[in-house]
C-alpha cells in the first residue's frame, strides 16, 4: 500500500494560502494523484476555487444539523475529482474556532475518512497564526506529517511563520509534524526575495518556491477557479505545477529554529534600515505595481 502524503499548509489570513493550496491540489490532480483538501479555517472558503466558486456544507455544520449524516454530506468532489472538505466553525466573534477544528479533524479520523477515500495526498489548509491549540491540531501526532507555510516578505506574515515554527518545535518532541519549506508568495521584487532568503537562513528553514503575485490568479479567482483550471498554460500555472512537483517529491522534514524573544524584531529592524538605504539608491521599490506581471 502506497504511503499517503499528509501535508499542512499554514499561512497568515489573507496571505494567499488557500489560493496556493488549491492550485497545488489542482496541479497534483492533473498529475493523476487523488487529492483531498481540508480547509481548517472558520471562514470555510479554502476549496471555493475547486468547486466553481461555490461554498460547500462544512463538517461542523453538517454534524450540527443532523445525527444521521453520512460522509458524502461533508466530502464533496471538486475540480478533477479533488475531495473537498471544509472543517467550518463559528461565526466571527463567538464560540471557539480552535475547538471547531479539533472536533472536525477528530471526526474525520474517527470515521476513517482517509481509509475510505484513500487519497494519495491530503492537504490541510490552516489559518496560520497558531493562536491556540486548536489551530495547532493539524501538526500534532497522527495528523499531517509535513508542514509548509505560505508567507510574503511582510513582517506580520513572517511573524506568523515564526510562530508556526515555535508550534512545530513544541510538538516535534511528541511525534508531531515537521517542517518542509516556506512557500514564498507575492514575491515580485528582488528585495522581497532577499528578505525571505535571509529569514529562512536565520530560522534554519528552506524555501520551497517563490510565487510571484499575478493578475492571472486574481482573474481566475474572480471566476471561481484555480489558475490551473482556468489558465492552465499561463506562466503562473507553471509556477504552481513546479511547486506541486516539488512538494510531492520533497521528503526533507526538519525542525526549524524560530527566532525567540526580541530576535525577530531586531532582525526586522535590520531590514528596515537596509530598505531605507535602498530606497535612496534604487528605483525597484516603486517601479513595480503590485499585481502586475
Amino acid at each position: 500500500m502506497k504511503k499517503r502524503k499528509e501535508i499542512a499548509i499554514y499561512g497568515k489570513g489573507g496571505i494567499g494560502k488557500s489560493t496556493t493550496t488549491s492550485n497545488i491540489s489542482a496541479a497534483l490532480s492533473d498529475e493523476g494523484y487523488t487529492v483531498m483538501q481540508i480547509g481548517c479555517d472558520p471562514k470555510s472558503d479554502s476549496t471555493n476555487t475547486l468547486t466553481n466558486g461555490k461554498s460547500i456544507p462544512t463538517v461542523l455544520e453538517t454534524l450540527r444539523n443532523g445525527r444521521n449524516v453520512g460522509l458524502e454530506d461533508m466530502i464533496h468532489e471538486g475540480f478533477n475529482g479533488i475531495l473537498c472538505v471544509e472543517a467550518g466553525g463559528p461565526e466571527p466573534g463567538v464560540g471557539c474556532a480552535g475547538r471547531g477544528i479539533i472536533t472536525a479533524v477528530e471526526f474525520l479520523k474517527q470515521k476513517f475518512v482517509f481509509e475510505e477515500y484513500s487519497p494519495d495526498v491530503v492537504l490541510y489548509d490552516v489559518l496560520g497564526d497558531v493562536v491556540c491549540g486548536g489551530f495547532a491540531m493539524p501538526i500534532r501526532e497522527g495528523v499531517a506529517s509535513q508542514v509548509y507555510t505560505v508567507s510574503s516578505a511582510d513582517f506580520m506574515a513572517l511573524y506568523a511563520a515564526n510562530n508556526l515554527f515555535k508550534g512545530i518545535k513544541k510538538y516535534s518532541n511528541n511525534g508531531g509534524a515537521l517542517f518542509s519549506g516556506i512557500i514564498a508568495n507575492s514575491i515580485n521584487l528582488p528585495i522581497q526575495k532577499r528578505i525571505l532568503e535571509d529569514f529562512s537562513l536565520q530560522t534554519k528553514s528552506t524555501i520551497a518556491e517563490f510565487v510571484p503575485r499575478s493578475l492571472t490568479v486574481t482573474r481566475s479567482e474572480l471566476g471561481g477557479k484555480t489558475t490551473i483550471e482556468s489558465d492552465p498554460d499561463s506562466e503562473q500555472a507553471g509556477v504552481y505545477r513546479k511547486l506541486a512537483k516539488h512538494i510531492i517529491k520533497n521528503d526533507n522534514e526538519y525542525v526549524p529554529s524560530p527566532l525567540e524573544g526580541d530576535e525577530l524584531k531586531i532582525w526586522a529592524e535590520s531590514w528596515s534600515d537596509k530598505l531605507l538605504e535602498q530606497k535612496e539608491t534604487e528605483h525597484d521599490l516603486e517601479c513595480v505595481v503590485p499585481g502586475a506581471e
Partner: protein, 452 residues
C-alpha cells in the same frame, strides 16, 4: 514544645494571583462556591451557564463535603443548567443561555435569578452580560449575572463575586439607613460547614442586644434580606479577608462602615469580647449588654461546669492541633486553650490568607491564655498537612475529614470542624457563640465517652 509563633509561611503566594499545585485541595472552584452562595439565599435560583457536570460535581464535592448538606429548593438535579457541550463550545452558547433563562422563568418559581457562568463561557468568550441584559428587557424578573468562571479562583472568590454582582446589579444606588441594622459577611455557605448554625447563633446573640441582624443566607426572608443590605448601619465581617471586597464596595456605594473580626467566636470569652466590640460602635445600653453577657455566660459556664467532671476524668489538658480556615482555626484554638485549658500545639491555616493579614492572625494566636504558644503554618496541600500533623506530639486533632483516617490510625481524638466534612451530617449545628461553645464541648466529650 515550640513556644514561638512560626511566622514564616510555607508559601507566600497571594490568593489573588497565584494558585500553587495542590494535593487534595479543601475548597471548590469559584462556580461551585457561587452556586452554594445563591442556594443559601432562600428562593434564589442559580442558572448555570456551564458545562455538563459542573453542578453535580459541586453537589457531590462541595455541598456534600459540607456535612452532607442536601440540595434544598433548587440544588442538585433541580438546578437549571445549560449543560454546555461541544456544540456550544464551538459555536458559542449565548442562544442556549437565553433559552435556559426563559425556560427557568417558566418552570421554576423564584424571587431572584442569578446566572453563574463556568469555565467554558469564560474561555470561549460568551457575552453573558449582553444575554442577561437582553432577557431582562423582556421579562420582569430580578435577574443578575456573576462571572464565576471556575478558573477565576476558589470558594472565597465565588462567594465574593456573587455578592459583588448583587451589590452592582440588584441593589439601588441609594438607600435609607436603619439604625441598629447590621449585615453579616465572611461566612461562606458550605465552605464554612456550619454556616447556617453559625449565622443563626450570631443573629440570636445580637438580636438579644436589641440589634436587627441581616444574615442573608439561611434566612427564610430570602430576597428581602438581600434588598435590606444597603440599609445597614454597620457591616460585620467574620474573616480578616473573606468578604472584604464586598464590605469595601458597600462602604463606597452606601457609606456603610464595617467591623472586621478575625474569627467566629466560640464560647464565653471570645463571644463576650465580640459583643463588647460591637457595642462600642452600635447603640446598645450598658444594662442590656450586661444582662445579655450575664445570661449567656451563666448558661455557658453552667454547661462547662457540668462537663468538667467528665473532661477532667477523660482528657485533662491534652495537646491539640487545628486544621481549617482562619475563621474556624482561630476560634477553636483560642477556645480550647483559653477556656478548656488544652495545649495549643499546631495551627494549620488552610484558606491562604493574604500576606497583609497574617500578622493579625498570628497575634490572635500568640494571645492565647496558655504558657504554650502554637506553631502557625499556612498550608493548603493535604500531603504537606499530613506531614506537619505527623511531626507533632498531639492527642486531639480538629481538622477536615481528609485527616480523619490517619488521625484515627494514630489513636488521636478526632473531630471534623472544617471543609470537607464527609463524615458527619450538619444541618443547624454550630460551634459559634455561647451555645456553639456548649455544643462543641458535647461533641468533644462524645469522642471518648462510654460505655465503659
Amino acid at each position: 514544645m515550640n513556644n514561638e509563633i512560626n511566622s514564616t509561611p510555607e508559601f507566600e503566594s497571594s490568593p489573588d494571583t497565584e494558585y500553587p499545585p495542590l494535593e487534595g485541595p479543601r475548597f471548590t472552584c469559584a462556580l461551585g462556591s457561587a452556586i452554594g452562595t445563591v442556594l443559601a439565599i432562600d428562593r434564589a435560583i442559580p442558572i448555570l451557564h456551564a458545562g455538563s457536570g459542573c453542578g453535580f460535581a459541586n453537589l457531590f464535592g462541595y455541598q456534600y463535603g459540607a456535612g452532607i448538606q442536601g440540595v434544598g429548593y433548587v440544588g442538585g438535579c433541580a438546578t437549571p443548567s445549560c449543560n454546555l457541550s461541544q456544540d456550544e463550545v464551538v459555536f458559542g452558547g449565548e442562544s442556549r443561555l437565553k433559552e435556559q433563562i426563559e425556560n427557568t422563568f417558566e418552570i421554576i418559581d423564584g424571587d431572584l435569578y442569578v446566572v453563574l457562568n463556568g469555565c467554558v463561557p469564560g474561555l470561549i468568550g460568551d457575552d453573558v452580560q449582553a444575554v442577561v441584559k437582553d432577557v431582562k428587557s423582556k421579562f420582569d424578573y430580578p435577574l443578575i449575572h456573576a462571572d464565576t468562571s471556575g478558573f477565576k479562583g476558589d470558594s472565597y472568590v465565588g462567594y465574593e463575586e456573587t455578592l459583588l454582582a448583587i451589590v452592582d446589579q440588584l441593589l439601588p444606588e441609594k438607600a435609607t439607613k436603619k439604625k441598629g441594622l447590621v449585615n453579616i459577611f465572611g461566612v461562606v455557605p458550605f465552605q464554612n460547614i456550619f454556616w447556617k448554625g453559625d449565622l443563626q447563633e450570631i443573629k440570636r446573640i445580637l438580636t438579644k442586644l436589641g440589634l436587627e441582624v441581616n444574615i442573608i443566607f439561611g434566612d427564610p426572608e430570602g430576597l428581602k434580606t438581600v434588598e435590606r443590605i444597603p440599609e445597614a448601619e454597620y457591616n460585620l465581617v467574620f474573616s480578616p479577608w473573606v468578604g472584604r471586597k464586598v464590605v469595601e464596595k458597600l462602604e463606597e456605594k452606601y457609606n456603610t462602615p464595617y467591623l472586621t473580626f478575625t474569627h467566629l467566636p466560640i464560647g464565653g470569652q471570645d463571644t463576650t469580647a465580640f459583643i463588647e466590640s460591637v457595642v462600642e460602635k452600635l447603640d446598645v445600653s450598658a444594662e442590656t449588654l450586661d444582662r445579655v453577657i450575664q445570661e449567656e455566660s451563666r448558661d455557658f459556664y453552667d454547661d462547662v461546669d457540668n462537663a468538667s467532671d467528665f473532661m477532667i476524668f477523660a482528657f485533662p489538658t491534652l495537646p491539640f492541633a487545628v486544621v481549617g480556615d482562619t475563621t474556624y482555626a482561630l476560634g477553636h484554638t483560642r477556645f480550647l486553650a483559653n477556656e478548656l485549658g488544652f495545649i495549643p500545639s499546631l495551627v494549620i491555616i488552610t484558606d491562604n490568607p493574604p500576606l497583609e493579614v497574617r500578622k493579625t492572625i498570628e497575634e490572635k494566636l500568640a494571645d492565647v491564655d496558655s504558657p504554650f504558644k502554637p506553631k502557625v503554618v499556612y498550608q493548603q496541600d493535604s500531603y504537606e498537612i499530613k506531614q506537619l500533623v505527623d511531626k507533632e506530639q498531639i492527642a486531639v486533632l480538629l481538622a477536615s475529614s481528609k485527616e480523619k483516617h490517619y488521625a484515627l490510625e494514630k489513636g488521636l481524638l478526632y473531630l471534623s470542624i472544617s471543609f470537607p466534612a464527609f463524615d458527619r451530617v450538619i444541618l443547624r449545628k454550630t460551634y459559634t457563640g455561647y451555645k456553639g461553645g456548649t455544643s462543641f464541648i458535647e461533641d468533644l466529650c462524645a469522642l471518648c465517652a462510654g460505655p465503659f
